[in-house]
Amino acid sequence: MEQQRGVFSSRVGLAFLTPALFFVVVFLLFPFVWIFYLSFTNQTLTGASALSPSFVGLENYARLFDFDRWARAGEFGSALWITIQFVLGSALLGQAVVGLTIAWAFYRRKGLLREIVFTLAVLAWIIPDVVVAFAWSAFLDYEQGTLNAILGALGLGRPDWLFRYPLISIILFNTWRGSAFSILLFSSALETIPPSYVETADVVGASAWQKFRDILFPLLRGHILTDLILITLWTFNVFTPYLLTGGGPTFKTEVVSIYIYRTAFKFFEFGKGGAIAVVVMLINLTLAMGYLAMLRRQKASA
């Protein structure tokens, strides 16, 4: 977008921005810096190390990366591996694919059918966390849940979802929960594509798949990149599975956000919690930088 002319001097602009800067510095930048410091201390909530935490060097990190233990259930390596599967499954394969499919299916369509699907997806997205978690625990219930009632009626078996397939359960749950964002983003993006591009293809009789692959997909690449990075970062940090499974059974759904919560706010080991948070934030930061670099390359080549 071209830089538009300014109405005010930059001093006035800064005055308008000051309250926002205050929030960004105090509630985003400061925690980010502080957590690095914390991760090198033995800060706790109560006891002697609460008042005067001492510097412990890399001890917290050594405990995280203790490779004899770290792959065991409930340890850092295991939580990281579960998170990677969770992000790949529910963000990339789940939300992005569901979002793109639905946006594409209703491309150049208005009306009731589109309205129904979009409204239901948005409801799944905006209803409070604890409510959807509760609804899903009823939905997935082994004996009486609606899902098993349907599967049973179709003769497809009635698995005990949260016990036998806990990770698949939270992947399904998070796909359901978050797809609306990708649906809305992709359908807005599709609307910016001039209809004439596709109408020409209609005339020569291109198939729906050919139109998608050769016309829409290349034009959407930037938006797909934007979508993927945002939902990846959000899924990395999402805490809602805790409300459905509590991280169990036996830590099988303990993603890193739950692992941090357990370490810091159940055992009150802020130092170790800080170290996990640093590692997670560094992973996220790397992903975000990689994305910005890709976006710049995309823009340069466009």
Binding site: A124, P128, E143, Y261
Partner: protein, 276 residues
């Protein structure tokens, strides 16, 4: 948009709609009937015996009622006012001054807030609130939430601010109006739809929040509805299904109403920078 469509494509899209609609609706359906059901049953069905007793029982739990009608309104209302005010000022300032690289700035801010989000940031945020004496206060919850919501709010708001014409403002400037006057009397009335969207968006987010209040609040009389929902669980941690469902139903109504308002007034869509 009246293009020819083969009957096969028509059938296809109807089937697809049914599939997608069931995927999104099925997990929620039970929540629409269970609150009115006299008997507990987790399968979706039409209740054999309709009742309002569950709601009556919910209203006898004074802790949960206070959470919903007092604490939730304070927290969501406070976050709404803070986020709408600060985001409007900021996006207006960004839009009306020449700040080099401001487009990338907002992008970086969104990314950064996504990186420093979730439980990772809760450790220092808790300690920050602790040292400022804000633990177990609604102000603390409102401030921490607002900090997290602001970057996206500015992103949404820019969409609206950038579309209002600046010629009135420039004319007023020539006649010597102060920037604050120009903002209040000229820009703000024009950008009101954007303020409404951002305000509702912040309200809904704060209304449903669980993690921040549960970490920052201590005493039961300060807790919001997301925590109070668990007061309908037995000591052993199993939910009293009919009561939880009734409370969840009440808790969800404001979100549904606000969604309908936004959809009716502005058309729910992707607000933000899809115009690259």
């Amino acid at each position: 948009m009246n293009r020819y469509e083969s009957p096969l494509a028509r059938v296809g899209i109807v089937l697809f709609t049914m599939l997608a609609a069931s995927f999104f609706a099925l997990p929620l359906l039970w929540l629409a009937t269970a609150p009115f059901d006299a008997r507990v049953n987790l399968t979706v069905h039409i209740p054999a015996e309709l009742t309002l007793d569950n709601f009556r029982a919910v209203f006898q739990n004074s802790f949960a009622v206070r959470a919903l009608l007092v604490n939730n309104l304070i927290i969501a209302g406070g976050a709404m006012l803070t986020v709408a005010t600060v985001a409007t000022l900021a996006s207006y300032g960004l839009s009306r001054t020449r700040i080099p690289g401001r487009d990338i700035l907002v992008y970086v801010l969104i990314l950064f807030s996504s990186v420093v989000g979730g439980t990772a940031a809760m450790v220092p945020l808790f300690l920050l609130a602790y040292h400022l004496g804000l633990v177990d206060t609604h102000i603390g919850v409102i401030l921490v939430m607002s900090g997290g919501l602001l970057p996206s709010a500015i992103f949404i708001m820019r969409d609206f601010v950038d579309t209002i014409p600046r010629s009135y403002e420039e004319a007023a400037l020539v006649f010597g109006a102060s920037p604050l006057h120009i903002f209040r009397d000229i820009a703000f009335p024009l950008v009101r739809p954007g303020v409404a969207v951002v305000a509702i968006w912040a309200f809904v987010n704060a209304w449903g929040a669980f993690l921040i209040p549960v970490v920052l609040l201590r005493s039961p009389h300060n807790m919001p509805a997301s925590v109070a929902l668990y007061s309908f669980y037995s000591e052993a941690g199993t939910p009293v299904h009919t009561l939880v469902a009734a409370y969840a139903f009440l808790y969800t109504i404001p979100v549904l109403v606000l969604y309908l308002i936004v959809n009716w007034r502005f058309g729910f869509r992707f607000f933000g920078g899809i115009k690259r």
